[in-house]
Symmetry: C2
Subunit: 598 residues, 2 copies
């Protein structure tokens, strides 16, 4: 329990606790246990109010699970149990609730809200319903939720008057926080489920500061922690005073309970009716002891590392697994995947398998082995030659021509995937794909090959980032062989001609996909026009490949998948020359940076 001293007791304070907890989608029992434990701890610390993350009881995001009546019933019954367990302290618990059916943006009635329930004295005192339902990028809250309709709801806790907003409600500039402050809220309590990407933490801090200053109210911003499918929630909860000064910041990527004395300033006049949570006068009490310093901010690349580790760990844990198998090629992708997995699961729970073809250079096999030694993971070698030769012999009649004993890279990649899945099937390890965002963007990923696996941790990591991550990991002691980091990556020569190095490719891809820049913008930004056309054409061509890829951790502002959803069939090819729009099934990456085992 982290506490602060509070400002000198010149005025009224509200003692606010926050529970930056991990919750799991659908795990009503487990989430309720974690909520109850936090309620007991905060009550003991003498908190007046305890704030949980958004949908803390149900997990986030719920997608169509909200449509299951029996799930909604179970969540509401569990909330009732939590209410009965509540004490003198008010608890603000994110959950779903039934509301009168309403129509908004379409003709479908919706009767489930994304809510914050206020529990106190063994009872449910009231429920706030989120008004702003984000429906872009990874969010689809307008799909299943009914919006709330009371932006100015107020809550009286003893002598304090609080407003409650949920996540997106905060971001409008003219939304519930503003309505609540205008109506007399002296403090804003904000449950959140805010997933990580590289620019998120700084944006979040700036936003919360602005809300506090604009409204002249302290803000208690509580986020959750943990991996949920493709999202990682990074915590970093914040408590700011009415001037926007930081009273507390929770660490990222780990759970934390905190309790802070928040100064409220002079009482405000309240417009409208506040729901009374309780009307007891504040107890006489000493200010809290001196504060722990706010959690240190960590570097951008460190944040990514933590996100990847947490993403793998929780995906496996949530699905009852604790060990992983992956292909080791001697390349950087496999090296970083293995290192992240070793940090997430412990090296003893990671199995690396090298699957060289006759073309694979000896030194890459040695590097793969050196990597496994550096990380302390299990290592096996399964030569592919016999297997792919058997496939080729089977195909000779059909394909005609002279038997080709050297497999295509795509066949090698798919054979590797089949082997890894068989190991997974037989031994219960979860198979990790090693592909990165850049190759996924430009179509340099064999379907069922290098993107094949139950989870693809690096799916949203640009290639150039992987080198930085490898160097970062080695700062803790040499683990990834220097030769792997130093070897220049090979970029495939595709059907449209030679591609540039990743130092050029990555910014083009980022600006096209994440910034929404088009050809003209990129050329104005100094990139070569024919080159940009070729890269954008490749990105447009390869949506199909991205549709069947394994899930992985979102770390950029736009990740492939739910976050960036393009039609598979899209005849719009503004960057095409006289090329036919192909489905790029045949993939023949040049050797040196082979897919499938990397």
């Amino acid at each position: 329990m982290v506490t602060n001293e509070g400002t000198p007791f010149e005025g009224r304070i509200l003692r606010v606790a926050g529970a930056q907890i991990r919750n799991v989608v659908g795990d009503l029992g487990g989430n309720a246990e974690r909520i109850l434990a936090a309620m007991r701890e905060a009550e003991e610390a003498g908190a007046d109010v305890l704030v949980f993350p958004e949908l803390a009881l149900t997990g986030y995001p719920l997608a169509d699970l909200v449509q299951r009546d029996e799930f909604v019933d179970a969540a509401m019954a569990t909330l009732d149990e939590l209410a009965r367990s509540s004490g003198r302290m008010a608890s603000v618990v994110g959950t779903i609730s039934r509301v009168p059916a309403r129509r908004s943006w379409d003709v479908r009635d919706r009767d489930i809200a994304n809510s914050a329930a206020v529990l106190c004295d063994g009872q449910l005192r009231g429920v706030y319903h989120k008004l702003m339902l984000p429906n872009y990028e990874v969010y689809d809250e307008a799909r299943n939720f009914a919006p709330g309709s009371r932006p100015d709801a107020l809550w009286r806790v003893g002598e304090a008057v609080a407003g409650i907003s949920i996540c997106e409600d905060l971001w409008s500039g003219d939304g519930p926080p503003e309505s609540q402050a205008a109506a007399g809220a002296e403090i804003l309590l904000v449950p959140n489920a805010s997933p990580f990407h590289q620019e998120k933490p700084a944006g979040r801090r700036a936003l919360v500061t602005e809300v506090a200053r604009r409204n002249g109210t302290p803000v208690v911003y509580v986020n959750c922690v943990g991996g949920q499918d493709e999202l990682v929630f990074d915590g970093g909860s914040l408590v700011l005073d009415a001037e926007g000064e930081l009273l507390h910041r929770s660490p990222q990527f780990e759970t934390e309970s905190f309790c802070v004395d928040v100064p409220l300033g002079p009482p405000r006049r309240t417009a409208g009716q506040a729901t009374t949570v309780h009307a007891r006068p504040p107890r006489a009490r000493e200010p809290l002891p001196p504060p722990a310093k706010p959690a240190a901010e960590i570097s951008a690349d460190e944040q990514v590392w933590h996100a990847l580790v947490l993403g793998i760990r929780d995906f496996l844990a949530n699905n009852g697994r604790n060990s992983a198998v992956l292909g080791l090629s001697g390349g950087i992708d496999a090296a970083v995947t293995a290192a992240v997995a070793a940090d997430a699961l412990g090296p003893e729970n990671v199995i690396g398998v090298a699957m060289p073809t006759p073309d694979s250079p000896e030194d890459e096999l040695h590097d793969a082995e050196a990597l496994s030694v550096g990380l302390g993971i299990e290592f096996h070698v399964i030569p592919l030659a016999g297997i792919t030769a058997a496939v080729r012999r089977g195909l000779d009649e059909l394909l005609g021509g002279a038997p080709d004993e050297r497999p295509s890279e795509a066949l090698a990649a798919r054979t590797r995937a089949a082997i890894l899945w068989t190991i997974s099937d037989q031994l219960g390890h979860l198979s990790l794909a090693t592909g990165n965002k850049t190759e996924l963007a430009v179509g340099n990923a064999a379907v069922y090959g290098d993107m094949a696996g139950v989870f693809a941790p690096l799916k949203d990591c640009p290639k150039t980032l992987l080198y930085r991550l490898a160097l970062l990991r080695n700062e803790r002691g040499p683990a990834i062989p220097k030769r792997i980091i130093d070897r220049p990556p090979t970029v495939r020569a595709d059907t449209y001609g030679e591609l540039p190095g990743y130092a050029v490719l990555d910014p083009i891809v980022e600006r096209y996909l994440e910034r929404g820049e088009a050809l003209d913008d990129l050329v104005a930004g100094g990139f070569d026009a024919p080159l940009v056309r070729r890269v954008l054409q490749l990105v447009d061509d390869s949506e199909f490949q991205r549709r069947q890829m394994a899930p992985g951790v979102k770390i950029t502002s736009r990740a492939f998948g739910q976050d960036l959803r393009m039609p598979i069939t899209n005849a719009w090819r503004p960057y095409a020359g006289d090329h036919e729009p192909p489905i790029e099934v045949p993939l023949n990456p040049v050797r040196g940076d082979p897919p499938g085992a990397e």
Copy 2:
């Protein structure tokens, strides 16, 4: 050009043409050509107004393609060209357009509307913006579109006053059509992009009838035709008079132009301002000749067959392919997939490959060959034994124990998939997966195995439907061997015990997934409680497998994928006994109905 007689010329008529065209997402040039051709044809037929489907110019659904400014610019420029080509007839063209940025359900500004542009006399006369943006099931229009704000917009075409609504606008019961009729609309023109599922055509007819009767206005409902990724638009456009009587019905699953004299009844008083499209008095003209009879309604299973054929054909065509390869097991799934593909592409463009293991019964191989003869498709046999034995030998050291020369079904299925992809890579045929909805629902599909392919036509077809489809296909002449249809399917014995036959399994799955029924509903419906628990548990367990499957044709009211989106990690297991929630990576279907080659 289909025409009708119109009712006897007792009053004013509006001569309305409809263009039930195929359009392709992103194909601005091709879509514009098709639009222009329809405009010329209808103008020649003397139509007063021509109605196109929703987003006819851009294709539907657009997903995040709407976020590309350069695409929006290109669409708007193409619309300007179409406007310049317009003549004396008014054309209602579905497209996207820029509108002042607005916020609605979240804090994101949106400035692109889903619109209907009204073109006449070489000019763009105005634009209606869709108000109701469906955001459920396969629809995500609240993701990127700004809603319109003028439900009562009216359009004066000569002496007639028309209202325009777009698709979902029609379904509210108290939406734009009602506002427009109240404001004086004498006819409702409705562009649609309404995708097929089994219950859709009847629902559509009932709805349009109700709208006509409620408002006392004729309704011209124009739908598009064609496959777009997982959706098939089935046409079936409708023209109803003010009493809701059918004046015209277009066929399903094919394009059609029509032109109908629609009686308007006595003039109405117009409230508010109607935008004048043109103010010319009607030309003296003869009523149109006697109508063709409305297109015949086809049986439910025939509709599914057509949807599958169109879905495959357009997916391939849209992606520049015209030939397909698939595995032939001798089972019903592969038989129906092959027959649909032969109908879609021509038998000469379909290649079947049998890939038997040493365990595969001789008669199934013979059936596979007989099927290829019956359909007239190419046939090859590639025995798996040598290949899977090579994999096993490679794995012996790692897996330990005695070498297992008989591959698991999962390994066989994945090996088959790798072989088919290699053929696809080398010869350019697109690979079709053969899995069905039932096995996908209960987790009886090997990832990268039987659901592996570029397209999975039967992905949304319950197993029992496949037998009906096979019999239907054979009515045109024997093609699918009787032995394939007669052989009882084998249902795997899973970790939770023996499953029932498909005649029991399919209704449970349908009621759970499509009707939203829970355990209690199903038990009340007469199903055995322990059995239902086991089936629902299997469905809940296997979401992970469904995340990496190939796209396929939606034919039921809820298809897996975008339409029915569950979290991968979902700890809510109300039907679990003391089983751990597993990721069902190991899949060991019993033989007889083998996955992967079926």
